[in-house]
Amino acid sequence: MTTKRPMLLRCACRLTLGTGSLLLPRRERREWLAEWKAELHHVLGRPMEHGACLAFALGAWPDAFWIRKHAPRSTPDAPRLLAVVDSPLRCLAMLGGIGAMAAILALIIPTMRREIFPPAYRGPRDVVTISPVPALEGAAMQVSGREYLEWSAQSTRVLAQTAFYLPVAAQVRVGGQSEGWHIARATDGFAAMLGIRVAGDMVAACHRAGERAVILSRREWVRGFSGDPKVVGRVFEMSGHRAMVVGVAPSAASYLPAHPEAWTLETAKAMRRLSTDRFAWGYMLAQPLAGSHTTRIVFTSSDGMRTWLFLLPLSAMAENDLHTPRTDFVLALLLTCLVLPAILSVVLRTRLGTERVSFAVRVRGWLFLLAKGVLVLPLLFCGPLLLAHLAAGGTGSDYAVQFFSTWGGAVVSALWIVDDQRRRCPRCLRRLVCPARVGERSRSLLAFSGIELACAEGHGLMHVPDFPTSWFTHQRWFPLDASWRELFQTGN
C-alpha cells in the first residue's frame, strides 16, 4: 500500500537525512544514509501523519550524533574540515583562493567598487567652508547664526556669495515608514552654490503653500527613494509638515560637515530669525570671487576684535575624508596589533617553541607565518566591506560595521595563524598529527602533563604543556633522527 506525500515533506525528510549524514565520518556516511533512506521509503508509504514522518526523519540526527561521538578518534578518514591545510602549500593556496574570491565579489558590485576605488572629486572647485579653525575639525568649524550674518555682510569684497546651514533632527515619514533623519535648514543660496538645479518657482511655491522645499542627499535618494529619477515633486511628511523634494544634491555634498541626509531651503526671513538665535550654530559656505586665491581673511568686529577666518575648499575635504574603507581597515589592523600580544598570551597561553631547529628552518617558518598573514589580508578587507555593504542596505558602507568586523576578523585570524603555526612541524611545516595525552594534571610538578603531537614525516615530537610551569613554560620540539622515519611512514 502506498500513500501520496507532498513533495515538500519528501524534500524536508531527505534534507534532514542529508544534513545529518554530514556529522558522520566519511567512510560510514554512505551506508548510514542508505539504511535511513530505505527506512524512510517504508515510512512514507505507511498511512501515517506527515508530522510523524518528519519526526521519524529527525530521529536520524541523534543517531548520527551517537555514531560521531563514538567514532574512533584515530580513524584516518574521519571528517576533518581543516584537512586541506595540512600541507603548507595547500594552506597558502586556500588562503589565497578565499581572498581572491572575496576580492572578486567585492569588485563586481558597483557600489562597493566605488567604495574601494572612490572616483576623483568632481564637485564645484570654488566652494569653501568658512571656519574659525584652520583644520577640518568637524564641530569646531561651526559658526553662530549671528556671526554668519555679520561676516557675510562684511566680506563682500572677497566672497561672491555665502550660504549657511543649520543641522537639526527631524522625524520623517516616507512611504508609510517613520524614521529619524539628520537634516539641515539652509539658506536659499545653498542650492545655487552647489550647482543643484531647482525650478525657479518651485521653492517659492512650496513656501507659499507652507511646505518645506527639500534637497535630498544622494545617499538618501538611493536608499529612501530607490534612486527614482522622477523624485522631484514627491511629497512626504517631515516633522509634522508637508515636504516636497525639489532636487538631489551632487555626491560632492556628502563631504560637507555634519553629513545631513537632506537640506530644507528656508526663506530669507526664516533664516534671519533663526540666525539671531544664540543656540543656532551651523556651517558657513562661501564662493570666493573669481581669481581670488585667499586662504584666510581677517574680520574686525565693531569693538575692534580681530578674528581670523579660514577658507577650506570642499575638494580638500573630499581628499581628507577619513571615513574611507582603506583608512578604517588600517586603523582596525593597528588596533589589532596593539591588543594582540595580550590576547595571544591569554588565549593561547604558551608561546611558539622552536629553539631546537636551525636558523634557516626557523626563518622558513617565520616566512610561512608572514605569508599566511599577508594572504589573509584581502579576506579581512573585502569580507567586512561586504558585511558593511549589506548592513547599509546596498547604498554604501556602514563604517562602524566595517571597522568592528575588520577588527574582530583580524583578531580571530591572528589567533588562528599563530595557533596553526604552533601545530606544525618546524621542519616540513605540515600539521602535526596523532595528539596523545601524556601525564596527569595533578602530577604536573613531577612529570610532564600535556599533549604530545607527532610529525607524520617522522621529523619529531611536539610537547604542549596543559599550563606553563616553572620548568616547562612553553611547548617544546623534540627532533627525531632519520632512523625513526621508516616507523612513522608505516604508521602514516
Binding site: A34, E35, K37, A38, E39, H41, H42, V43, A55, F56, A57, L58, G59, A60, W61, P62, D63, W66, I67, H70
Partner: protein
C-alpha cells in the same frame, strides 16, 4: 568477561529492542512499531547493541528489493552472545516476554 560487562549495562530500553529483534522485528521501523519507541532512541540503541556484539546486521539482497521496487533494507538478528544476554535480561524484566514473535524472519 565482555559478555558479563555488557549484560550488566543493558538498560530496559536496550533489552526491549533486543527482545524485539529476537521476536522477529528485524529492521529499524518495525522495532519502533513493536516497542513504541521513537527513531531517535531505537537507532542509537541498535548501534550500541551492534557495537557490543549482541546483534548483527546484514543487507537485504538487491535482487529481492528490486523485485519489490524499493531500496534494500538492513536487517538485524540476535547473536549467540545477545541471546545469552537476553535470557538474563528476561529474568530481570519479565514483561519483555509480551513482545510476541512475527513471521518477518521468514522473508529475510
Amino acid at each position: 568477561m565482555a559478555g558479563m560487562a555488557t549484560e550488566a549495562k543493558l538498560s530496559h530500553t536496550a533489552a526491549m529492542i533486543l527482545q524485539a529483534v529476537d521476536a522477529g522485528f528485524v529492521y529499524g521501523f518495525s522495532i519502533m512499531e513493536a516497542t513504541g519507541l521513537p527513531s531517535g532512541t531505537v537507532y542509537p540503541a541498535m548501534r550500541r547493541l551492534e557495537r557490543d556484539g549482541l546483534i548483527a546486521s546484514r543487507w537485504e539482497k538487491q535482487s529481492i528489493a528490486d523485485a519489490e521496487g524499493r531500496p534494500p533494507r538492513k536487517y538485524y538478528k540476535v547473536t549467540a552472545e545477545g541471546k545469552a544476554t537476553l535470557a538474563a535480561a528476561r529474568k530481570r524484566y519479565p514483561l519483555l516476554a509480551r513482545l510476541t514473535p512475527v513471521d518477518e524472519m521468514e522473508r529475510v
